[in-house]
């Protein structure tokens, strides 16, 4: 077809030729904009737009939906569609909620505006990497050679193989690597614990579960041990009330933590709040909030915090009455009866046990922050009320990362900044546990036959059966199978690109070739998918019915209707598991797995999905969350926003009304009762001892270790802004705004003869990658920053030309399960090897960085 003909057809189809514009009177007459900002007496002149065909929003069908990924927040997307095609996306503009109108954006009910990733969803939906048909591998694993097969063939293959593996190798043969790639729907859910895959494999009777969370296991552990819950977060609007916000390794300008956190922080700034950033990088958060930047050596945060605690204790700046009332083990006076003779936190800090007072000077030698700055910050934090120490997850993704988070909780407690508006007890920072599951979550959910630390699967596969339980963090079981090493022979990826995202990719490559079944369920062909035997095309969240929850801050529900029909032969995860259940176990398994459906569900799922969601809304959401909106009204509006009399603050009830904390003692456990009573660490999922009070522990690699002779740089791999982990890596709009590059300090670069834009090798003994350099004064000397999530692109020598930091990370988690993503030493040099981002080089971002003062 000629281009002209194609265009004409398109014009005709969209009924949007220039002529039709001329004929049609504009759909919406000029209205006075909300707030009276613009008053326009438009003449409705027939002028062409700069580009045709040009469908206006009001000529398209509007459907409210939301983003769906594991990103840090959950925002509204509004699809503007023509028939079955989404023409463009907009976001919340205040019109859709009850009582809403265009431009409504109050502090109580702020708009849920999507970030750059959300705005680029159309590129992901309609991408060339979109998986549309079931595929079977015909080449080697990783080679990327597949042939198209029918659903019937694909599901039969998987079902037969599953039965064979279970019969041959037992109930631990399949490892569940479902993750949050499609999470936070309530019906179509991929997740380690609440996921559809977990229930399916559990019912089937063959599942090794992956228990540690890559992003924040250190933090989760700390929050559970200290507060007894991970719901230690305030709502985002509480940040507007702080007088001091310490962003510890926290970069909300990149991670968009919570729906509108960054916006409320701006409000705090306007009210006079001071900001501090402790981070190896001067981030965009630091500049936007005009923060005092304290550069710190990676993986030494707990030491600096100990130094702060020392200053606070020795200068009597702590809140003794708060400690006495609410804390266990903070000092000698708050030790429980049963723990007499055990160490308390204050005496540890003062050096009573090891003869080493944790003074600011002591800390300075470790963390590289001048003692006077540690003292100044400790002073500020102890004397400014209320003050929010936001202990982010990144410093917890380290060797002994849990100690950093536990230490932060001790600081938060000793200054009495917990349970008060403007304070902060985060941690994990989850503010609200919405009703999260609309599919049957019952006795069959999360059944597992062994559970391992998530990044130890390759180690387990490669060394089976000569593996000690502590090496893989085996979760204890109450039956005779306790301690049995799982015999992993297959992997299921559901909403997960873990092969690309876990640590030490070279070791994973070695391990995956030992497996007999690798199944990848995704809507995109990911790097993981290239290593799969079977690719199953999964409908995106635009193509299935669901409801969105805030990710962990924000109080609202967003309806997610089926905006368009599933593309190609895509099916939902629930359809796939239901059909597999029928194929493996007939009606008994099929109906138990999906009780509202019959076998037609694989072809017709709308009514069943609607029934699950309606039931969830009417029996859980309305009664438990006191929502006063019917399911039908919710569907019609697309969004329900809660309003509160006062901002939600974690532990307010405990502090104001004396309610118990959810810990064994009912107190904030600086001394963790549970840990203090463990005698045989090997029989716990931790495997190795964890101190029962927060302590500084030297990591296995850091800028202080002798290993720097060989590998002088400390590599950190934070979350990027232009991807959600590995998702969106293939979107050209996003790739145009940023580039995968390693950030290094200008003085380091000078020594190495590297300039911005030069291609460099980043390597250590575990692996190597090739990436352009970005040279800046905004990064601490000795530190290299390489954002996680880029899709690996291996050359014939196994060198990653795309620049994925997980070629270099170590698959050895911290005892509490924290992935040690940021505990990595490396070396850097200029190279002749070519960087291959995987697509044409699009980034122009650096053309827009100016250093005119140099």
């Amino acid at each position: 077809m000629s281009i002209k003909k194609m265009k004409d057809n398109l014009y005709e189809r969209l009924n949007l030729s220039r002529r039709s514009f001329l004929k049609t009177t504009a759909a919406g007459s000029a209205v006075v904009a909300a707030g009276g900002l613009i008053e326009l007496k438009t003449a409705k002149e027939a002028k062409a737009f700069a580009y045709e065909p040009y469908p206006k929003d009001d000529e398209l069908q509007t459907v409210v939906t939301s983003c769906a990924h594991n990103c840090g927040s959950r925002h509204m997307l509004v699809a503007h569609k023509w028939k079955d095609v989404i023409v463009r996306l907009s976001t919340d503009d205040g019109r859709y909620q009850r009582g809403g109108h265009f431009g409504k954006d109050t502090n109580e009910e702020p708009q849920l505006r999507a970030c750059l990733r959300g705005r680029s969803y159309r590129q992901r939906l309609y991408s060339a990497e979109r998986l549309l048909y079931p595929m079977m591998r015909v080449g080697e694993r990783g080679e990327g050679k597949f042939k198209r097969i029918s659903w019937d063939e694909a599901l039969d293959f998987v079902a037969k193989k599953m039965v064979y593996l279970k019969d041959t190798y037992g109930p631990t043969a399949l490892v569940d690597q479902s993750y949050a790639g499609a999470s936070y729907g309530v019906l179509h859910k991929s997740d380690q614990i609440e996921g559809l895959l977990g229930r399916f494999l559990g019912m089937f009777g063959c599942r090794t579960s992956s228990w540690s969370v890559p992003s924040y296991q250190g933090t989760t552990f700390s929050s559970r041990m200290t507060f007894g819950t991970i719901e230690d977060g305030n709502e985002d609007d509480a940040f507007a009330h702080s007088k001091l916000i310490i962003m510890w390794g926290w970069n909300p300008a990149y991670t968009f933590h919570g729906g509108n956190t960054f916006m409320y922080m701006r409000m705090a700034k306007q009210r006079g709040c001071k900001f501090v950033l402790i981070d190896p990088q001067y981030t965009d958060s630091a500049s936007a909030y005009d923060a005092w930047w304290i550069p710190i050596r990676p993986n030494t945060d707990a030491a600096m915090m100990a130094g702060m605690a020392h200053h606070i204790f020795t200068n009597n700046l702590h809140d003794q009455s708060f400690i006495d009332r609410f804390c266990q083990g903070m000092d000698a006076g708050t030790m429980p009866q049963w723990a007499q003779g055990k160490e308390n936190f204050k005496d540890y800090i003062l050096g009573k046990y090891d003869g080493e007072p944790k003074t600011p000077e002591w800390a300075a030698k470790i963390c590289g922050v001048a003692a006077k700055d540690i003292i100044k910050l400790a002073d500020m934090y102890a004397k400014t009320k209320p003050a929010a120490l936001k202990a982010s997850w990144a410093p917890g993704r380290n060797a002994y990362g849990e100690q950093y988070n536990r230490m932060a909780a001790a600081l938060q407690a000793m200054t009495g900044n917990i349970g008060i508006l403007g304070g902060c007890a985060e941690g994990v920072g989850k503010a609200w546990h919405a009703e999260a599951v609309a599919y049957p979550y019952d006795q069959y959910s999360n059944i597992w036959f062994q559970a391992i630390k998530s990044d130890r699967w390759a180690h387990c596969v490669l060394n089976y059966p000569n593996v000690k339980r502590e090496e893989i963090g085996l979760w204890q079981r109450e039956d005779e199978t306790d301690g049995q090493i799982p015999n992993i022979k297959g992997i299921f990826w559901q909403g997960s690109d873990w092969f690309n995202q876990l640590t030490n990719i070279n070791k994973e490559i070695e391990a995956i070739n030992k497996l007999e079944l690798v199944v990848c369920m995704d809507s995109t062909i990911t790097p993981s998918g290239l290593y799969a035997d079977i690719l199953l095309p999964i409908a995106t969240h635009f193509e299935r019915h669901d409801t969105a929850l805030p990710w962990y801050k924000g109080h609202y529900y967003i309806h997610r209707p089926k905006v368009i029909e599933p593309m190609g032969e895509s099916k939902t995860d629930l359809q796939v598991f239901t059909e597999l259940a029928y194929r493996i176990g007939g009606d008994v398994f099929g109906q138990a797995y999906n009780p509202k459906a019959n076998r037609d569900y694989f072809h017709v799922n709308d009514n069943v999905d609607e029934a699950y969601l309606r039931e969830w809304w009417e029996t859980k959401v309305i009664p438990h969350q006191h929502v006063d909106m019917s399911w039908d009204e919710f569907k019609q509006r697309g969004v329900y926003k809660f309003t509160f009399d006062q901002p939600h603050v974690a532990f307010r009830d405990q502090i104001e009304n004396g309610a118990r904390f959810q810990t064994p003692s009912g107190k904030i456990e600086i001394l963790a009762s549970q840990l203090a009573q463990i005698t045989d660490w090997k029989k716990t999922m931790y495997g190795y001892e964890i101190p029962y009070i927060p302590k500084w522990i030297e990591p296995w690699e850091s800028l202080n270790s002798p290993k720097t002779k060989k590998h002088p740089f400390h590599l950190i791999s934070p979350h990027p802004r232009w991807r959600t982990h590995s998702i969106f890596n293939n979107c050209s709009w996003l790739r145009e705004t940023y580039e995968q590059e390693v950030t290094i300090n200008a003085s380091d670069a000078k020594k190495l003869g590297i300039k911005t834009g030069d291609t460099v090798e980043v390597w250590n003994d575990r692996g190597k990658c090739v990436v352009p350099a970005y040279v800046t004064e905004r990064c601490m000397p000795g530190v290299a920053v390489l954002h996680e999530g880029v899709w690996i692109e291996l050359d014939e020598n196994g060198v990653d030309r795309a620049g994925n930091p997980d070629m270099l990370t170590l698959d050895e988690p911290s005892p509490a399960g924290a992935f040690a993503y940021n505990t990595v030493l490396c070396n850097i040099k200029k190279t002749d090897l070519e960087h291959r981002p995987g697509w044409d080089k699009l980034a122009t971002s650096r053309a827009h960085v100016f250093r005119r003062d140099l």
């Binding site: 919406g28 737009f49 580009y51 750059l116």
Partner: protein
Amino acid sequence: MSESKDKAKIKEAVKRRKRETYTPVKPDLQLGFVHNNVDCIGCRACEIACKDKNGLAAGPRFRRVQYIEGGRYPDVFAYKVNMSCNHCESPACLPTCPTGAIFKRKQDGIVDIDSTLCIGCRRCEAACPFGAPQFDPSDSIVKKCNMCVDEIEAGRKPYCVMACMMRVLDIGPIDKIWAGELETVAVGPNDQISRQVKNMSDIELTKPSIGFVAHSKGKVK
């Protein structure tokens, strides 16, 4: 984009262009942008919203968030200057257009390109001191921000403004913006408006319709 250009129409437009070249349209009301260089987190949601709205592939960027950084470790600073088309009082692009495709709207001062007239010669691109006109190789014509006239005519604001997560980008009558009289959360209670900041061309060239909250290191004079 049109396959064949209407010659009569071009003639008519060239006549109009000759009339307008030396006497730019005096709009009844001039709309313009306001951006807070300090509070902007540089997330570029505005850029992506713009690309989606206008159906652009990678390449042409109507809106461009510039990252400016300076200082020496550890005393560093950074800020953002965010610009699309400034819908200037005397647009440099307009008189360069040989076909009269560029026009300035009387009612709101928005500068737009009539794509049925544009022949893709890219003279406007060279003339603009702010880099607003963007050549789109897929259609072989120049395109640029038209402040989402369709949204404005529907009583709403442009996509970039409605995309701003920090609420630091807004539009309004430019006189009000410069006078600090526009009611907008883009400008904080203690913020002053600057017409000229560092890292942008001299505003005397075209008198761009834009105001900024400047960073202390980005102030001129």
